[in-house]
């Protein structure tokens, strides 16, 4: 089954009142961000998509795939592989080397060229993580940032599901803009729960949650895209400052941007 579109049909909010948004279509290749204060129902919306709600969950929403209700019995196994989730956890629990684990996962997902794929996963993970990762490292010893980077790279290349659900990636300590680019690059439908203005505006649309219900849908306006450009510049500046500080350079001092500045000049 080729996935072209997912539709969320509105149910009711926490008080049982009908959700304001009655229908929300998300096309392949589109990013939808889900915003709202804590407790407003963001994670439940993601959960409804993940289990293809059929008016039976708390919210009473239904999910359509390519405009049709889902026949869960007939498509059970193909549906299971349609959604991959990058959740809030920051560590692996399986005690084995990255290489062995990725090979095992590639086997489960019947990947054609596992050796090449896991090299690609590793190189993406290294692009996302500040601290280098190698195939021989043990999964359980990875830092939060390294683990998150590897989880994103794995979802992008090995799980490779047409729908990706991301919960609060900004906490990850990885290059999150790059992470979103990598995930959206392949015509996937991406739902991002986020509090981060840059990530929110990177999505073509955002749904605002309130009291458990979908309250309003915004298309990212041209002026907002302009603001996004500025935010991305600020973000780059921020990352570059962070890296300089982490690697022992001074910042904001005349000449500090030049190569070969003596480290720790005061000592």
């Amino acid at each position: 089954m080729m996935l072209k579109k997912i539709t969320i049909l509105g149910g009711s909010d926490k008080d049982g009142a009908a959700e304001k948004v009655r229908r929300l279509d998300i096309q392949a290749g589109q990013v939808l961000s889900v915003v709202g204060p804590t407790g407003s129902g963001k994670t439940q919306l993601i959960a409804d998509v993940e289990q293809y709600a059929e008016e039976e969950t708390l919210t009473g929403r239904s999910i359509l795939v390519n405009g049709q209700p889902v026949d869960k019995d007939r498509h059970k196994s193909s549906l299971r592989y349609m959604v991959a989730q990058v959740s809030q956890n920051m560590h692996f629990v399986i005690d084995m080397s990255i290489e062995d684990f990725l090979l095992m996962h590639a086997q489960v997902r019947a990947i054609d060229d596992p050796a090449k794929t896991i090299k690609d996963v590793l190189s993406i993970a290294n692009r996302l993580s500040g601290e280098p990762i190698s195939l021989q490292m043990n999964l359980t010893r990875l830092s939060g940032g390294q683990s998150r980077a590897l989880m994103v790279a794995d979802v992008a290349l090995i799980s490779n599901s047409p729908v990706v659900l991301i919960d609060e990636i900004e906490n990850a300590g990885i290059n999150r803009l790059e992470a979103l680019h990598i995930l959206t690059g392949r015509g996937k439908i991406v739902l991002v729960v986020s509090h981060d203005p840059t990530l929110i505006l990177m999505a073509g649309e955002r749904v605002v949650m309130k009291n458990g219900g979908m309250h309003k849908v915004f298309k990212t306006a041209p002026e907002e895209k302009q603001i996004l450009e500025n935010l991305i510049e600020i973000d780059k500046e921020f990352v570059s400052l962070r890296e300089k500080l982490r690697y022992g350079k001074s910042v904001g001092v005349a000449g500090s941007n030049k190569e070969g500045v003596a480290l720790w000049p005061k000592f």
Partner: protein, 231 residues
């Protein structure tokens, strides 16, 4: 009356899973009775009682828990019928991994969690391989990749079972388990039905309360390690 047998590894989320599922069943207007079988003690009855359903507890104490379980099935069924239940949930705990509580014609559910390690499904044995439905919990604590690999390892042990992901904290996925239960066949009566996997013979002096180590204290059905075995 439907009869659902729930087993699984320790602290895998059996009670949490069933509490969410039973609430859905109560919403459908079913009357539910729950019995918990354990070895020495349990506090699960307190949690089940909060649902307002009839609850009974059986503690095996000095008896082998597996034998205690099978020897009480008729009585538990009779008790549940007296409660006018449409559905009996029997949560078992403390069974050894050599045994499986599954009985032909009852729906047997095995709950196993993502944290126990990917080699464990193989070691859990008949409890997992005889289940009709396998519930995998604690997916919220691992990555997508780990969930997929773990599920694969579980399906290798029991390729015929329906496998459900269920979050015991939020109840996400419990509607599917509710549907599995509602769609399961209605068994007639437990009497005369057969265990899917026979229980081990255990008729030695230790079954009868012996505590001293040593050959002269051993009687009955005793099996010794074969040190000549080559790997």
């Amino acid at each position: 009356m439907r009869f659902v047998i729930v087993a699984g590894t320790p602290s895998s989320g059996k009670t949490s899973v069933m509490i969410h599922t039973i609430s859905h069943l109560l919403n459908e207007g079913l009357s539910v009775a729950v019995c918990k079988i354990d070895c020495l003690e349990t506090s699960d009855d307190v949690r089940y009682r909060r649902l307002g359903v009839a609850v009974a507890v059986g503690l095996a104490d000095y008896i082998c828990p597996d034998h205690f379980y099978v020897a009480n099935l008729e009585e538990i069924e009779r008790w549940a019928k007296e409660q006018k239940a449409d559905l009996l949930v029997l949560e078992t705990a403390g069974l050894c991994h050599r045994c499986a509580p599954a009985v032909h014609t009852c729906l047997s559910v095995c709950v196993i969690d993502n944290l126990i390690g990917i080699d464990t499904p193989r070691k859990v044995g008949p409890m997992l391989s005889t289940a009709d439905v396998i519930v995998i919990t604690k997916g919220d604590m691992v990555s997508q990749a780990e969930r997929e690999v773990f599920r694969f390892k579980v399906s290798e042990v029991n390729p015929g079972a329906r496998i459900l992901d269920l979050n015991g904290l939020t109840g996400q996925g419990s509607l599917s388990l509710k549907n599995e239960i509602l769609n399961s066949a209605l068994p007639t009566e437990i009497s005369g039905k057969e265990l899917k996997y026979p229980m081990p013979a255990a008729i030695c002096s230790y079954c009868a309360g012996e505590t001293i180590v040593g050959k002269s204290y051993q009687m009955g059905n005793v099996k010794k390690v074969d040190f000549g075995r080559m790997e």
